[in-house]
């Protein structure tokens, strides 16, 4: 079970290709410790699912990875780039990491297409026509080519989230972060979003996913990390964590969400 405690650069498995390394990350909001010495490694092509009760620090960890939140101590690397170094430009980090939000956060005043082209034009410096073609490609990839001119208010929740994914994918990220992408959606609308995510898994995208969708975790995840009270309690392949977890807390958690 070397992956269970996998964390620092030293105990990599031979032959692996680490893309994301998190080392001893700590984060507090006031007196409340949200992350305590979290360490883990995600290899290129891996799909790591973070689970845990609300308030366990999953979302904070994701935000630390693209520096929407600054860590108190510890380091995070994307390949050789130290994300958490003060001299690292957060915009460069965010250009290489895509993020999908629980509350979707499409730009309300822009059409689906313009939601995608904004980053391409302003961050990547593409001209308008090039960006438009690229955006239409990405919208097609998530099955929404016909909704390119719709405004967010005219789309269903599932469609909005798929645009959110297209917006992140258009920037050619090396890593995709999903922060509870389906928890604001009805179950039927979740499915279309999960289908797009599963397609990304097949394409070999490296992903870190916070979700309570155990179907996705079973089907697509290469690893599951169970966090509780800011600590990694247990980490391993899906079958092990679901069927035969080492820790009582993990077992109790999976038991509780099974009855939801």
């Amino acid at each position: 079970m070397s992956r269970e405690t996998a964390g620092t650069a030293d105990d990599r498995e031979p032959g692996t290709d680490p893309l994301l390394r998190i080392e001893d990350v700590r984060k507090s909001y006031g007196s409340e410790e949200v992350l305590r010495d979290v360490s883990m490694t995600v290899d290129r092509g891996d799909v790591e699912v973070l689970v845990g009760p609300s308030g366990s620090g999953k979302s904070t960890l994701l935000q630390c990875i693209n520096r929407l939140t600054e860590v108190d101590s510890g380091r995070i690397f994307l390949e050789d780039l130290e994300i958490t170094a003060p001299e690292t430009d957060p915009n460069e980090v965010r250009g290489r990491i895509g993020m999908v939000f629980q509350d979707i956060n499409l730009f309300t005043h822009l059409t689906a297409r313009k939601n995608v082209t904004l980053g391409l034009e302003k961050v990547r410096g593409m001209d308008r026509e090039e960006a438009r073609l690229r955006a239409d490609e990405e919208l097609d990839r998530v099955g929404l080519a016909d909704q390119a001119d719709s405004y967010p208010a005219q789309l269903s929740g599932g469609q909005k989230q798929r645009v959110g994914i297209a917006r992140a994918l258009a920037m050619d990220p090396e890593l995709m972060l999903f922060d509870e992408p389906t928890s604001a959606l009805d179950p039927e609308l979740s499915n279309e979003v999960l289908a797009v995510m599963e397609q990304l898994v097949e394409e070999g995208m490296t992903m870190v996913v916070v979700t309570h969708e155990m179907r996705f975790a079973r089907g697509g995840a290469t690893g599951i990390t169970f966090l509780d009270e800011g600590e990694i309690v247990e980490r391993g392949p899906p079958e092990t964590l679901f069927e035969n977890p080492d820790h009582e807390r993990t077992a109790r958690f999976f038991e509780s969400i099974r009855h939801d």
Binding site: R94, H109, A153
Partner: protein
């Protein structure tokens, strides 16, 4: 659309054409045609008020004659008198309206140019937010008239502006007008900054987070994502500011700017016809305010986005969300 012609709509169109036809033709006469020797000349009436006065006199005379029949023809005489006065003072009011419109429009736009960065600093400026707060509260906490007096009498602006060659020559208004523009711009910027701050704060925080997650810097996120939404939210409040400013601009009369109120009060104090003169003045202000409200309504619909801000946007989102 109904097939029956809508009477209210028709009357609105007639009133709008009459009002703006009068103003535009008057300005054209004064500045474009008068120098060429065409038309009645600068500030001269199109019609003579004399026939109306005569008619009014006739009715007043008749009133005495038909007195025993108790037919009241006095009101007709009053209306004719008012019409004669209107014809008499129309050129002066049109020129005053020009000053009022330019003063309002220029101050509003310059004020907006200051208000947007001010509001952004107030909300996102961190340690500089207090500066924006200080400015806003100082300006909003003191009377506009006092501010104008300080600018006009207290500072050397007048001297300085008088040295500028173009000021007060031909087309370009006197220095007092420019001082009023400065005063209204500063004053309006503080109020507009408050409207925009409110609108900024009503934009969901997640919008900026998402913009930053795409790789935009904070200032790019504010510029391309937050502000376009903010300005749409702010249009109703901005309309309010415009309507206020049209009327507040009358304070410029106290520093001798020849705008509408100044002109009307001068006429009233020489003719002593206070009620009719100020009634005419009120009609001109109402015409300006209604036009401004209508124009802002059009702007709001034009930039409306489903699900965001303006009336149209809200409506579209509601019907299509069902």
């Amino acid at each position: 659309m109904t097939d029956r012609p809508d009477l209210g709509w028709l009357l609105t169109i007639v009133a709008a054409v009459a009002f703006w036809g009068w103003l535009l033709s008057r300005w054209a006469t004064d500045w474009l045609l008068a120098p060429l020797g065409i038309g009645p000349g600068r500030g001269e009436n199109y019609l003579s008020p004399a026939p109306l006065e005569d008619a009014a006199g006739t009715f007043e005379g008749t009133a005495a004659a038909v007195g025993p029949l108790r037919v009241r023809v006095d009101p007709i005489a009053t209306v004719l008198d008012g019409a004669a006065l209107a014809v008499e003072v129309a050129p002066v009011l049109a020129d005053g309206a020009w000053h009022t419109i330019v003063l309002t429009a220029v101050s509003l736009l310059l004020g907006l140019a200051i208000a947007v960065p001010l509001a952004v600093v107030r909300v996102y400026g961190g340690p500089f937010a207090w500066f924006a707060l200080l400015y806003t509260e100082l300006i909003r906490g003191t009377p506009l008239l006092a501010q104008l007096f300080v600018l006009y009498y207290g500072l050397d602006l007048a001297v300085w502006l008088n040295d500028v060659d173009v000021v007060g020559r031909g087309f370009v208004p006197e220095y007092a007008f420019w001082i009023a523009i400065i005063g209204f711009t500063i004053n309006g910027s503080a109020y507009q900054a408050e409207y925009i701050r409110g609108a900024l704060e009503s934009v969901d925080e997640g919008q900026l987070t998402a913009a930053r997650a795409v790789g935009l810097s904070k200032s790019e996120g504010i510029r391309y994502v937050v502000l376009p939404q903010t300005l749409r939210y702010a249009i109703p409040a901005w309309t309010n500011e415009l309507v206020y400013l049209i009327k507040y601009s009358s304070l410029a009369g106290f520093i001798t700017v020849p705008e509408l109120y100044y002109r009307a009060s001068r006429i009233a104090s020489t003719t002593l016809e206070y009620t009719p003169v100020f009634t005419l003045l009120a009609l001109v202000y109402i015409g300006l305010v209604l036009t401004a409200t209508d124009a802002m309504g059009r702007l709001e619909r034009r930039v409306a986005v489903p699900g965001l801000g303006g009336g149209e946007g809200r409506q579209q989102a509601r019907t299509e969300g069902e």
